[in-house]
Symmetry: C2
Subunit: 333 residues, 2 copies
């Protein structure tokens, strides 16, 4: 039974069916000029046989695959989940496919995935990565999110410094007298770590007292923060009245800790987070926040990646952030 039983049709089959040559079929497929009669016959044959191009054969020939690999830590996290969604949107708008890899902050996985997709001849990689020594082929376009690399790799990021600045300014404007910045995160040099610098600058500029409580990644941040908080509460009252947290996630955790001391936002204390996460059902912000423009980040990352071929690569693109009023600061009328 050499007969192709349930064989998927190829250009050859289409050509035979249409009574033309394979070259002609190829031209029709790719929209190259072809005689009208031929075109019709070929199109009919394609429909009849339900022919689909084989992108593997195509990719082999063209070494262009219309596929981009995306690395994020974990789509179960709302920020990364939305980022993945927006990247997917930006890519599919341009008719690109997206390989997704959730790295779970695992350095080894990050590198393994990059190796894997390099075999797969992706047209580029967009990565929000943590491994200190990612190695990616020079010739493969790479765009980093939130983390600068030394080489000619573009980094797309929110304007974190300015976000920190805005947070400090806002808390001052809202009447706070003593601010605290809580931060947990990676010890890497990355963009989000500029939130602290911006915050400090804002505090100094407003000549306000402040503390910075910072914890690097591997440790469990909870005890450090808990200790700071209980150390700074006397008689049920905190000696700080404004809090800026490096993420909304941390803001929620800090709020829980404060609640144990019967301290609540926005009356006892005002809190601003970072990211602008919205409640999954109601769409309301969990806390006042510096909101990141996730859709824009995705759009710019994809645009930068795909246009990269011939233009110069900007080392860093910062997108504007915005103050998002939520339930943890006093109303600004």
């Amino acid at each position: 039974m050499k007969q192709k039983e349930r064989m998927v049709p190829t250009v050859k089959d289409v050509a035979r069916e249409a009574g033309v040559a394979v070259g002609t079929v190829s031209k029709v497929i790719n929209g190259k000029p072809v005689g009208d009669e031929y075109k019709k016959k070929v199109e009919a044959a394609i429909k009849k046989l339900d022919y689909r191009i084989n992108s593997y054969a195509q990719g082999l020939k063209a070494s262009k695959t219309y596929t981009v690999a995306v690395l994020v830590p974990n789509t179960a996290n709302p920020f990364f989940g939305e980022l993945a969604h927006e990247l997917n949107f930006a890519l599919s708008k341009r008719n690109y496919r997206m390989y997704l890899c959730c790295t779970d902050y695992d350095f080894r996985l990050e590198q393994e995935f990059i190796n894997m997709v390099q075999m797969n001849k992706v047209d580029g990689i967009i990565g929000l990565t943590y491994s200190p020594d990612i190695v990616v082929d020079e010739s493969l376009p790479f765009v980093s999110i939130d983390r600068p690399f030394s080489q000619g790799i573009p980094c797309i990021s929110s304007d974190n410094y300015n976000g920190g600045l805005i947070a400090a300014e806002k808390l001052c404007e809202l009447g706070c007298r003593k601010l605290v910045f809580f931060r947990n995160g990676s010890p890497l040099i990355n963009e989000p770590n500029k939130r602290a610098s911006g915050f400090e600058a804002g505090c100094i500029h407003n000549n306000i007292d402040y503390d910075i409580v910072s914890v690097d990644d591997p440790e469990d941040p909870v005890p450090t923060f808990k200790k700071y908080i209980s150390d700074h509460i006397k008689k049920g009252k905190a000696d700080f009245d404004g809090v800026f947290c490096v993420t909304d996630s941390l803001a929620c955790i800090i709020m829980e800790m404060l609640a144990e001391h019967d301290i609540y936002a926005p009356n006892d204390i005002q809190i601003i987070g970072f990211d602008g996460i919205k409640h999954f059902a109601t769409g309301k912000p969990y806390c006042s926040s510096i909101a990141q423009p996730i859709a824009d980040l995705a759009e710019v990352a994809v645009d930068t990646l795909l246009r990269e071929s011939n233009s110069v690569k900007p080392p860093l693109i910062c997108l504007p952030v915005e103050y998002l009023e939520g339930p943890t600061t006093k109303q600004t009328r």
Copy 2:
């Protein structure tokens, strides 16, 4: 400059470098028996040239791509975000790559993506889809999540019927006298719609009074639910005291509506949702809920998809759900 400037090395290059034939190289790569001397030489050459297999060439030859396509509506939704994450985990554990498509509930996009990945010769598709008339090639393994298809397509789902049953039982056990089930969703025949049936069965079995308030997809569910609620509140008191919602998301929305009438869970009313969504930062449930085993769903979906080749296809696999005690029901001691 015919010289391959920054050409990526192929088996040929490796063969030349190692002074052997291409066939030998291929055998080494694929772990086929090869003389020890040759093997060493080849491996050295591979390392020296930093050779990587070209999966496109491999896929063309083998028509096996170690790639699976996944369709979900939107990874920004925590349920789908976690599902995508777990599917990714289950796939990468087996050394499979994952194409992700966020469909945004768009029927056209669903079909377009399926067409696209069929060109890409994926080894299978896992889809949580809504389009009533998905057409996917017979020969391409397809596993559906939460939605049965008529043909021999396996459907993986939580035990939705039983979840509804458990919810009703639980509310009775907690002392409720009159239950309401709120539901919005797709008019399709899908698994989640069995939550209502299970709930009804539970109510009947417990001989308790109940209402079902159901809204199909396209409409905005808010007004219908709002109306039901205000119609059933007299003098600040609702004439129902137990609520089961088709999702946690809806449960949150209903809680907001009730809050406008100064009715709060768990004291004035007890509420159970469905899905078991946890707060992104604190990890606490938003509401008492029937929790879906997302990781198991993913694992079983992938396993079913990849083993499918030769065994019989089960039409429906239901995974057990679990009652998750949250802040919206009274403590069970």
